[in-house]
């Protein structure tokens, strides 16, 4: 077997992680992104890796790709021109949305205008009722007229969104047929295919975003396929989806919306893989990059799935790894609020001009400048990096704030970091406390370029006692790509009582869902022993307007593990309700509104990555430098090269650990050790000023 390569395209860097399962060889590589055509960085990177790292493109078996092309197209409003066909009487639904404002007190902020302006939203006389009963059949004249209208609108793609199409897609399909007859090449997105679930606004919005992305992603994938076919003819291309799994290029072309938010999802999957290696089933991840920090909660090696998110201000309902983002990154700028308090972020210096210490014209103080001024980052920049950091520029940027505060530059820098830590702590509290979970029961796993710099301080405030720093924290997203499985989800929506009769109805639908899953396994060439199916229901008490997922995993060889009966489902539901909301109502009737089958096609197992290469026998610092921690003076601190740390080595803080893609700061009183899988595990000491943990 040859190489498996994961490529994560970010705004600034394109990261590569390659591994060869047969001998466990791994390579990591980073190169600047090419925003004008993100595919270019991939092709060049593959060529560069062939030259410098001996990864022969002809020997690449699989290329797993996480892309921000869709997300960026939405943020920059560069999607295609879309038309919408919808039920008569409801063309404004997309514009009204949920009739809310994004900010309680602002008179000026609105949700963004709909992606399809009213003049390209066309109504057709048709209607179904909630049981799928046909109230009005679409007629041929109507179908012809609407196809003509779409043709005349100049649309590059078309969304078809009818009420109750999740119960029966017949009307949407008839409209699609009429459109295909008139416009055979027009990409179509049917709400009954993109997201067949009830609640029309979220379904329509997701479908319209999908249609908007179809033309963009088609061009991009065509480029990628053509270029890699020449370079790496044996590489099967897989595209990463936000749910934390891979999909084929064909699926990505049909459902490009599934790639939105796939970047952070890859990090969470990489974190799950690392957590397994470290044997820590419960982990809070902290992925801190240049502009923001993503936090996610992993329970029992499982990164939870959420369904509702916003992308570029629009609601998207898709299975997505449950991640909370906060505007706290290395580039976050420190500034004074009108009331004189010091704030950090969410505004960021970004990649251009970047922090002041990059010497590219930035003058405002950032988190990276503060880390440099305190000696936590090396003036030489990242280990092995080309970018030296200008400490003088960092200090000059911090100076005005220091004067205003009457502080030294170092104390000001400590303050900036204290505030950015407080912001991240709040984000962690949001994902844990609001789900009824106590962060002290978790280990903290920092990654991204800046996560390990701040992990100890975040852990202290939260009362977390242990930190697991992955072997290659800056490349964890790319690594997550190649340890992911193929994933697909099949769903039916309706209202089913949780009774013996209701389950009979569900059983009928399950046959259809299983057949769909089988067809997908066959089409993707998944071997029987690699076929996994998980059944889950979105359930609620009758009368509630929100659902909780109830899952039954454990099926193998493509066979579902079915619950024994209504009582088993009810028991799991009550328990979930208790955990989320602090109570359950044992006697209340329960109903099921969505039936889901998650299908996974297991990909080849991957060896544990990058540990202990070039290791020496004892942890020997490569040098020393003065570093400011939380005291009033710098401490002469040993600096270790991560590559020189082998499994079993241990050392006490203070220490700084540098590596190609990240820097880890270990505080005085902490202990660090390298585990068998190459993770740096830090036992957090108790500082006098650290807050004790949260009470339950």
């Amino acid at each position: 077997m040859g190489w498996l390569v994961g490529v994560d395209v970010g705004g600034t860097f394109t990261d590569f992680f390659a591994c060869r399962p047969e001998d466990g060889a791994t390579r990591i590589f980073k190169r600047p992104s090419t925003p004008h055509n993100p595919g270019e960085a991939i092709v060049r990177g593959l060529q560069e890796m062939a030259a410098s790292l001996d990864v022969d493109p002809a020997r690449i078996d699989r290329l797993c790709h996480g892309t921000t092309v869709a997300t960026n197209a939405l943020i920059q409003r560069r999607g295609g021109t879309v038309a919408l066909v919808t039920t008569e009487g409801f063309r404004d639904l997309l514009e009204i949305g949920r009739q809310t404002r994004p900010h309680m007190y602002s008179l000026q902020l609105d949700h963004p205008a709909p992606l399809v302006p009213r003049r390209r939203r066309f109504e057709i006389r048709e209607r179904m009722g909630p049981a799928g009963e046909v109230l009005t059949e679409p007629d041929e004249d109507g179908l012809t007229a609407v196809a003509e209208a779409v043709a005349a609108s100049g649309a590059q793609s078309c969304a078809v969104c009818c009420l109750f199409s999740f119960v029966d897609p017949a009307h949407e399909r008839r409209i699609a047929d009429a459109l295909k007859r008139r416009l055979p090449d027009l990409p179509l997105s049917l709400s009954s295919s993109v997201r067949p679930e009830f609640r029309e606004y979220e379904r329509f919005s997701t479908t319209v975003l999908n249609a908007c992305l179809q033309p963009v992603i088609a061009d991009y994938l065509a480029y990628l396929e053509t270029e890699t076919a020449a370079l790496a003819p044996d590489a099967a291309i897989r595209i990463y989806q936000s749910s934390g799994g891979l999909m084929s290029v064909g699926t990505a072309r049909t459902y490009p919306i599934r790639t939105a938010l796939s970047g952070p999802a890859a990090g969470a999957v990489g974190a799950v893989h690392t957590a397994r290696g470290a044997e820590r089933p419960n982990v809070i991840t902290l992925d801190m990059g240049g502009t923001s920090a993503d936090v996610a909660l992993i329970r029992g090696y499982d990164a939870g799935i959420g369904l509702d998110r916003e992308v570029a201000g629009y609601p998207v309902r898709q299975p997505m790894v449950d991640i909370h983002t906060v505007g706290a990154g290395g580039g976050s700028i420190a500034w004074f609020e009108r009331d004189g308090l010091l704030k950090v972020g969410p505004r960021s210096a970004g990649a251009e001009p970047g922090p002041a210490c990059y010497g590219r014209g930035g003058t405002e103080p950032t988190v990276t400048d503060a880390n440099l001024a305190l000696g936590r980052l090396s003036p030489a920049g990242l280990a092995g990096g080309d970018l030296a950091l200008d400490e003088g520029a960092a200090r000059r940027a911090i100076e005005p704030a220091a004067q205003r505060l009457g502080f030294s530059v170092e104390k000001t820098a400590q303050g900036i970091l204290g505030i950015v830590v407080a912001n991240m702590v709040r984000a962690v509290r949001t994902i844990s406390v609001e789900r009824g979970l106590d962060p002290r029961d978790y280990a903290l796993m920092p990654f991204g370029g800046a996560g390990p710099l701040h992990a100890v301080e975040v852990a202290r405030v939260l009362g977390i006692r242990e930190i697991v720093v992955p072997g290659a924290p800056g490349i964890l997203c790319a690594q997550g790509l190649i340890v992911s499985d193929l994933k697909e989800e099949f769903v039916r929506s309706g209202r089913f009582a949780l009774t013996a009769e209701g389950l009979l109805q569900i059983a009928g639908l399950l046959d259809g869902l299983e057949a769909d899953a089988r067809a997908w396994f066959d089409a993707e060439g998944v071997a029987p022993e690699d076929r996994g199916l998980t059944l889950s229901f979105d359930a609620r008490y009758v009368g509630q307007n929100f659902e909780l997922p109830v899952s039954f995993a454990g099926g193998s060889h493509g066979v579902l593990a079915l619950p024994a009966g209504p009582d088993e489902i009810a028991d799991v539901f009550h328990a979930e309700h208790e955990r989320h909301y602090g109570f359950h109502s044992a006697g209340e009737p329960i109903e099921i509104v969505n039936i889901r089958i998650a299908a996974t096609g297991r990909m080849a197992a991957v060896a544990a990555p990058v540990s202990g290469r070039n290791a020496v026998r004892a942890a020997e610092p490569a040098g020393h430098r003065p570093v400011w921690f939380d005291g009033d003076a710098a401490v002469e601190t040993p600096v270790y090269w991560r590559e020189s740390l082998a499994a079993g080595m241990a050392f006490a803080g203070p220490a700084v650990v540098e590596q190609l893609d990240s820097t880890t700061v270990v505080f005085p009183g902490d202990r660090a050790a390298v585990d068998e899988a190459g993770n740096l595990v830090i036992a957090v000491g108790q500082s006098e000023t650290a807050a004790p943990g949260a009470a339950p």
Partner: protein, 567 residues
């Protein structure tokens, strides 16, 4: 970092304030998660806060509703007056009455728990939650047609629900006997209690970390810094006297054109709101207590001057308020007040109208000015069970200096979401025939006003009952700086033969037979700037979007006549 002695520096203060905000947000989430009432779980009609021993608001949860801003202060005032000298660790107080306990309407249950540290009173953890029912004449405790607060539900003065950690069971029994579905309401009470306790333990951690002196200093600085920030914003307004007036359509009980008159005096950093001359309180339930008026004033000031300013006493104390007791805006016992939100919306319109000349770049035309409420109820023929479907609909938002008013949106004091059409039809024996924007409803202007909403609903297989509450159904939402008025809203009945007839603005108990339907149409909003200044491009969009028709455009925009016809 080491903790310096008071006074705190701006860095330590920011980190402490971040921790306090976190407490408010966590207690907010905890309350939402464990409550039973849909109002709390789905519509987030609740708030949490930390108050100081003097009853000053220190931190309010981010997601808290504007109308709750002043209510907690009202509760604290009554609490301190009655129990100030005898507070004990483990006490917990509850109240809801608008006339004697600082509430704004009865379904909002207020709670306060004193927090002691090293034997000293340091703070109160407070919350407010809108319960689905608080007793009274009609399920839901929000109905119109009532004339006294007694009919609206159980009145609770400030009482001690826990005495030094011990639940006063007899008191809780008394409360629960007077509300519908007591088992669920008990859950709501305990959700609020648990939220207070969580806040107390989290605040104790912060006290452990910083000590009492530093936390007290932090409380003080949070308030004074916000006050200074708001005062600076007010000082940016031109000194002078600003006047405006508008009126409520009606109270549903015979009174019409109920005036709200306002004179604002800005003098340096001071601002005085004088509502003298406003109408006397009315028979119907649109009356407002003083602290709801104060909350409306603070909402409008923040929205106009500094939307990101933190919510604390520094905002609340800033405007000086003159409101006559016994008037619509400071109603005296026994006035009913359930529908006070409609009046709060109008107070805000009046303030924004008055201050428009002082802050033209932030000003807006009058919004739909309502909390248009539609309630369908009946017996579901499919199940034989009774149902009640209640919804509040948005409408137009006023035109703004740089952009048109938003179409079809909740405004100002309310921001609750709609119920999906598919959810309505799956849940209730009702069919939504259409749901869209109302053509020609946005007031003309350089930036036009937002459009109203229209929803047409018909019962399926049975006759249902319709109740509603509309405002700006008679008086149009006005424009500013030459902008024109938006359209009014209306309730209409469609008979089986298709003939439509206007319903009252606050209809009570209208029977809708199968084959008949109700049209709920909400108001649009006023425009900003002279219509003659509207750009050709914007007019073209008005036309091609179909939001306005040719005739209407020609009538309201002189330039539309020349540019029209090219279509």
């Amino acid at each position: 970092m080491t903790v310096p002695a008071a006074p705190l520096d701006p860095v330590t203060l920011e980190i402490m304030a971040n921790g306090l905000r976190s407490i408010a947000d966590e207690t907010f989430a905890a309350l939402m998660k464990s409550a039973y009432s849909t109002n709390i779980k789905e519509r987030r009609d609740h708030s949490t806060a930390i108050m100081d021993p003097a009853g000053r608001l220190i931190v309010q949860a981010d997601a808290s509703l504007p109308i709750h801003l002043a209510s907690m202060g009202g509760l604290m005032e009554s609490l301190l007056a009655r129990f100030g000298g005898e507070l004990r660790d483990g006490d917990l107080f509850v109240a809801n009455d608008p006339h004697v306990a600082g509430g704004t309407h009865l379904p909002d249950i207020n709670m306060a728990m004193p927090v002691f540290f090293e034997g000293e009173l340091v703070a109160f953890m407070c919350n407010i939650a809108h319960h689905a029912d608080v007793g009274g004449a009609v399920p839901g405790s929000m109905a119109g047609g009532l004339t006294e607060i007694y009919q609206e539900g159980l009145r609770i003065p400030v009482v001690r629900l826990f005495r030094e950690g011990v639940l006063q069971q007899d008191l809780l029994d008394l409360i629960l006997l007077n509300v519908r579905v007591p088992a669920e309401r008990r859950g709501d009470y305990f959700a609020q209690i648990a939220s207070c306790r969580l806040g107390r333990s989290r605040l104790t951690e912060i006290l452990d970390q910083y000590g009492i002196a530093a936390v007290r200093d932090g409380f003080g600085q949070i308030v004074t810094r916000t006050a200074a920030r708001m005062r600076a914003a007010i000082a940016g307004l031109p000194d002078g006297v600003y006047r405006f007036e508008d009126a409520m359509d009606d109270d549903g009980m015979g009174a019409t054109d109920i005036a709200i008159r306002l004179t604002i005096t800005v003098d340096g950093g001071d601002i005085h709101f004088d509502f003298s001359g406003s109408a006397k309180q009315v028979t119907g339930n649109i009356n407002v207590t003083r602290n709801a008026t104060q909350a409306s004033v603070c909402y409008a000031l923040k929205a106009l001057l500094d939307p990101d300013a933190p919510n604390n006493q520094g905002v609340l104390d800033l405007p000086r308020l003159t409101v006559e007791k016994g008037s619509l805006l400071d109603a005296a016992f026994p006035a009913p007040v359930a529908a006070r939100a409609n009046t709060c919306q109008r107070i805000i319109d009046v303030i924004l109208g008055a201050l428009a000349p002082a802050r033209p770049e932030a000003a807006v035309g009058a919004a739909n000015g309502a909390n248009t409420t539609a309630v369908f109820s009946g017996n579901d023929p499919r199940t034989g069970e009774d149902y009640v479907y209640l919804e509040t609909l948005g409408g137009g938002f006023g035109g703004r200096a740089a952009k048109d008013g938003k179409d079809g949106v909740q405004v100002h004091i309310t921001n609750t979401s709609n119920l999906p059409v598919e959810a309505i039809e799956m849940e209730y024996p009702l069919r939504v025939l259409s749901y869209g924007l109302v053509a020609n409803s946005g007031g003309p202007g350089r930036q036009r006003g937002g459009m109203g909403l229209e929803r047409v609903v018909t019962p399926v297989g049975h006759a249902c009952t319709f109740n509603g509450a509309g405002e700006r159904f008679a008086r149009q939402p006005w424009g500013v700086f030459g902008g024109g008025a938006g359209a009014t809203g209306a309730f209409r009945h469609i008979a089986a033969d298709g003939v439509t007839a206007r319903l009252p603005n606050k209809p009570i108990g209208v029977t809708i037979a199968p084959q008949e339907a109700v049209i709920v149409r909400t108001p649009g909003a006023g425009g900003y700037g002279a219509p003659a200044e509207r750009t050709a491009e914007a007019l073209e969009d008005d036309r091609t979007s179909g939001k306005f028709d040719e005739t209407w455009l020609a009538e309201h925009y002189p330039q539309a006549i020349e540019t029209g016809g090219e279509d």
